[in-house]
């Protein structure tokens, strides 16, 4: 599913000096895998996830997604590929404040080529599946943190991506709420979705199939 080779990411520091956030990353993730990326703060976990999510293009190396060499793609093609393959869950949920739950779920569909009737069906489906039909007309601030993240996950997968990326999805949640989300991830993974999550907690990592340890930009454990 994912194959990273010699990925490096650096930021210019001062004159002609660079600060390397990621070094020599080689990573393969098979379809159906559930990987947890762990490591101390500042290790580069989020950076790596954004590269996987194709939000960032300032890196060097090779990144194959589903056999496509993304490093050769034009921005537009990359965006299309990303829209087809990837869903993203944020630590801060990032639901759009002025939109209802229903509208938040509809947003990704509106950015892709779906017909209106199809969109309504998909959203209804998702509300049903996550048992939040009763909340569809509420605004994000009327929901608890756990409920917001539930919507966040629902929104991430509504366009049926094959790959789900999550950056500390339970970081802002109580442990019981966090478990609920992790259970959901496991279920999604069982249904065949590939998941890469960043987490600080061993417990969350235990839901996954394997762990990749990152330290100062280097993969120190879990590389096959």
């Amino acid at each position: 599913m994912i194959k990273l080779q010699h990925i490096e990411r650096c930021y210019p520091l001062a004159k002609e000096k660079f600060f390397y956030v990621l070094r020599e990353i080689n990573l393969e993730v098979q379809e159906g895998d559930f990987v947890s990326i762990m490591g101390p703060s500042g290790a580069g976990k989020s950076t790596l996830l954004h590269i996987l999510g194709m939000h960032d293009h300032g890196w060097t190396g090779e990144y194959f997604l589903d056999g496509t060499a993304t490093h050769h793609l034009k921005p537009k093609e990359r965006a299309t590929l990303r829209n087809k393959q990837i869903g993203f869950v944020f630590q801060q949920y990032h639901l759009l404040d002025d939109l209802t739950v229903y509208e938040n779920l509809d947003i990704p569909l509106s950015y892709r080529r779906y017909r209106t009737s199809e969109r309504a069906a998909l959203v209804a489906d998702m509300l049903d599946r996550f048992q939040i039909v009763g909340k569809k007309d509420l605004y994000p601030h009327q929901l608890s943190g756990g409920q917001q993240q539930l919507v966040g996950v629902a929104r991430a997968i509504i366009a049926r991506p094959k790959l789900l990326l999550a950056d500390e999805p339970t970081g802002n949640l109580h442990s019981s709420q966090g478990e609920e989300i992790m259970e959901l991830f496991r279920k999604l993974n069982n249904e065949g979705m590939t998941i890469v999550q960043v987490t600080h907690s061993e417990r969350n990592a235990s839901y996954g199939k394997r762990v990749v340890q990152l330290r100062d930009g280097w993969i120190v454990k879990g590389d096959q």
Binding site: G53, H55, R82, F90, Y111
Partner: protein, 817 residues
């Protein structure tokens, strides 16, 4: 208290200096609108308010005769006499008659404007000579002495301002006048007069036909407590009595009293007044736009300063204390803007003087002097203070409210509490767009109307024409055949001058600011359908080549030729409109028409040609008024003989040659007002041009400010929405979606503003209706095209922030996690 104020001022100054870009933009916007306000006010001041060298001008009125309720004429002695005997509204009444003199024996022969006046004229105006004495009843008696008053400038020019001028003589048209006084500097009423002589008539003993001629300027001073409206009503009822008493002269005529000031502006239709009101509205709107703009800037900055203000509150500052501090800042800003505005006005004023809307010829020294006097200074200062309060109040109140301040102190809560005054940004920008829309529609209508007026078919070709005025003195040319001979000799010489294509004479140059001659006519074999119909036509006596020279379009028949001499069968060339009125639906060629005047008999004239309508009459520019052209030689008259010359090159290049040619015929004959036809025409639409230019400048400034405001709000909004945009991109938003998001927001504000503006314009432009020509006050084309213009400018204003939104990198936007 003072200590506190000083502290606020110092702190405010420091704050303003800290963000020079913001301060610069705000001050520039303020200077622009305060400057525009000051400039327009100084025009209002000059034209409507500033004292003139007449005493208590706000009591002085002019009586105007109106034919069929719209066609303005001078008054006749009939009215004067009736007012004197029957009216109770006037403290005093005076009359003057325009008259020009050929001054001989003092250098170049010169035509000098003057007037013969009744002794009461100057006392009514409240003007006394600065040297010598005024006319007495004794001077004004028939057969009285030949005495004259001269203007200050004539005294300077011809007598070097010497003190012992009284008793000197002037040789005016073969009569020697003794100078008895010098009028105050700048005084030249009526009609740019430089010499005043007594009228010396006894109205009662004059024949009725002479008394009925509308050839007087009647001025009156209202009694204290009498309003113009009351006096006008009384004058109208007197006019109705005259209509009954002298139906042969007065049927269909009424009178109208207007303020003398308005008459001196040449503004008989009241358009200068209305234009100034419209412009004042325009600058007020501009000021509102500017206030909204600066308020928005302040608000956006206030949001950035929320923490500072919250901290001050936490440290114990009361709300009123903070409001005062913020208002002090606004005032500082306003004062800077006010100073800039004054400077701007100082630069604009000379330009305003150039496009001066004054149609009149009198008191030019006063009406053309646009300057910043004390009244204007006070006005500018008040506007500045008001501006400071208007744009400072909302931000000050919003920025210091209890509810808004406290949440911002809670750490890390940046996202939950939406910034104070956020909604106000949107409200203000919508208001701004609405006001700009109204202003643009108003400006659009006035410009459109002006374009229509400019494109009005004049009926002749004004390019390559030179016009010169000549009046033949009765003393030297007492017989009409002498005048005809003079004209023929001059024209003969002109024709042979190099550079002259053709030349002719006319009794009135088209659209000139002089008394224009009219005639009543009667059509052979037809009594008027309605006895109240008094058909009138512009009356022009012209030389054979005149119409060809003017470049009229012949529709039928022929023009006047050399053979149409005295003694030959009388002929006439008429305009289309006259043909329509005299012979509706018939062929006028060969039919006969004649001038009628009680007590006089004129010959029947045969129509030999019909030409396209010519705009002859200045005060009837907006309608087609009938005109006929009669051979000068065939109708005895002592009207002016004005030269019109068509040239192959620049018309003014032949001036000297023409002067020499006339001097060769008569060395004593002066020529005056040498102008190209285009210079003449430039004076026709002065009021309209003034309002069109100013309104379009104002509207453009309003548009610019509104666009700037919209840009500011959108840029601010994009910076506030960075995270949201990042999320959307992460969720799959393509550039087009982001663009749509931002432009959509801008479009919503714009369209709402336009909708409100259109509604307001719909109501307000009706007030402009009387200024418009062939354009409806709710002209759909203007409304639609202005809306489109505003939408496209708004799109541009939103596009720049939208591009910044496109550049949002989700990585960066989401990074603070």
């Amino acid at each position: 208290m003072f200590e506190e104020l000083w502290q606020d001022v110092r702190y405010g100054a420091r704050i303003l200096l800290k963000s020079p870009t913001y301060t610069g933009i705000a001050v520039a916007a303020l200077a622009l609108s305060i400057g525009a306000n000051t400039a327009v006010f100084s025009a209002v001041n000059t034209l409507l308010l500033r004292p003139l060298p007449l005493k208590n001008l706000d009591q002085l009125v002019l009586s105007q005769a109106l034919r069929e309720g719209f066609d303005p004429y001078e008054s006749s002695l009939l009215e004067l006499q009736a007012y004197q005997e029957r009216s109770h509204s006037f403290e005093s009444i005076g009359a003057a008659r325009q008259r020009s003199f050929n001054l001989i024996g003092r250098g170049e022969p010169e035509r000098i404007r003057g007037a013969s006046i009744m002794a009461d004229y100057l006392t009514t105006l409240g003007v006394k000579p600065v040297l010598g004495r005024s006319f007495t009843a004794e001077d004004d008696r028939p057969g009285g002495a030949a005495v004259a008053l001269i203007s200050h400038s004539l005294w300077q020019k011809h007598f070097g301002g010497k003190a012992d001028i009284i008793g000197e003589t002037l040789n005016l048209e073969a009569r020697t006048y003794t100078i008895i006084g010098v009028m105050p500097p700048g005084f030249d009423v009526p009609a740019a007069a430089a010499i005043w002589v007594p009228m010396q008539i006894n109205i009662a003993s004059l024949p009725l036909t002479q008394r009925a001629v509308p050839s007087c300027e009647v001025v009156a001073r209202l009694r204290l407590g009498i309003s113009l409206k009351q006096a006008d009503a009384e004058a109208k009822s007197i006019a109705r009595q005259l209509e009954q008493e002298f139906p042969q002269f007065r049927r269909g005529w009424t009178v109208k009293l207007l303020w003398l000031r308005q008459a001196l502006l040449g503004d008989y239709a009241g358009r200068v007044n209305k234009a100034l009101v419209a412009l004042t509205g325009g600058v007020a709107f501009l000021l509102l736009i500017c206030c909204a703009n600066v308020a928005n800037l302040q608000l956006a900055r206030g949001i950035a300063r929320t923490r500072e203000l919250a901290l001050r509150r936490a440290l114990g500052a009361s709300r009123s204390r903070l409001v005062r501090q913020l208002l002090t800042e606004s005032m500082l800003l306003a004062l800077l803007g006010g100073a800039g505005g004054l400077l701007l006005a100082h630069w604009i004023l000379p330009l305003l003087a150039v496009i001066n809307p004054v149609q009149g010829v009198s008191l030019a020294g006063f009406f053309h002097e646009f300057r910043i006097d004390n009244r204007v200074l006070i006005f500018a200062f008040c506007v500045t203070l008001a501006t400071g309060v208007i744009f400072g109040l909302v931000p000050a109140l919003k920025g210091t409210g209890e509810r808004e301040v406290m949440p911002s102190l809670r750490q890390g809560d940046q996202r939950s509490a939406s910034a104070p005054g956020h909604g106000w940004l949107n409200i203000l920008i919508v208001a701004e767009i609405a006001v700009a829309m109204t202003l643009l529609v108003g400006g659009g209508l006035i410009v459109r109307s002006f374009n229509r007026l400019q494109r009005v078919d004049l009926g002749f070709r004004p390019d390559h024409l030179l016009t010169l005025k000549m009046v033949l003195p009765e003393s030297k040319y007492s017989e009409h055949r002498q005048r005809v001979a003079f004209v023929n000799q001059v024209l003969e010489r002109l024709k042979n001058l190099p550079g002259v294509v053709s030349a002719g004479t006319t009794t009135n140059i088209p659209l000139e600011r002089e008394i224009a001659y009219d005639a009543r006519f009667s059509v052979e074999g037809r009594s008027p359908r309605n006895p109240n119909d008094i058909p009138i036509t512009s009356h022009r006596l012209v030389s054979p080549d005149y119409l060809k020279t003017l470049g009229v379009t012949l529709l039928k028949g022929r023009l006047i030729e050399e053979t149409d001499r005295a003694g030959q069968p009388p002929v006439v060339v008429i305009s289309e409109q006259l043909a329509r009125e005299a012979w509706p639906g018939e062929d006028p060629l060969g039919k006969r028409i004649k001038r009628v005047r009680p007590g006089q008999d004129f010959p029947w004239m045969t129509v030999i040609g019909v030409i396209r309508d010519v705009k002859e009459d200045l005060f009837n520019y907006r309608v087609n008024r009938p005109v006929w052209y009669v051979p000068y030689a065939q109708l005895e008259n002592n009207f002016p003989v004005n030269l019109v010359v068509r040239t192959s090159d620049d018309p003014s290049s032949v001036t000297t040659a023409i002067r020499e040619a006339t001097r060769a015929v008569d060395p004593d004959q002066p020529i005056s007002d040498v102008m190209t036809m285009n210079q003449n025409l430039a004076r026709v639409l002065v009021t309209e041009r003034f309002s069109a230019i100013l309104m379009s400048v104002l509207a453009a400034a309003g548009l610019l400010l509104a666009a700037l405001g919209l840009y500011g709000v959108m840029a601010y909004s994009v910076s506030q929405r960075t995270t949201e945009i990042g999320v959307r991109v992460a969720l799959g938003a393509q550039p087009i979606h982001v663009l749509r998001l931002i432009l959509g927001q801008g479009a919503k504000l714009t369209l709402l503003g336009i909708a409100i503006g259109l509604t307001a314009a719909w109501g307000l432009t009706r007030l402009l209706a009387s200024l418009l020509f062939e354009v409806n006050a709710t002209d759909p084309a203007t409304f639609v095209s202005i809306s489109l213009l505003l939408v496209s400018i708004a799109l541009v204003a939103c596009f720049l922030p939208a591009r910044r939104a496109l550049a949002v990198d989700p990585m960066v936007a989401l990074r603070y996690e």
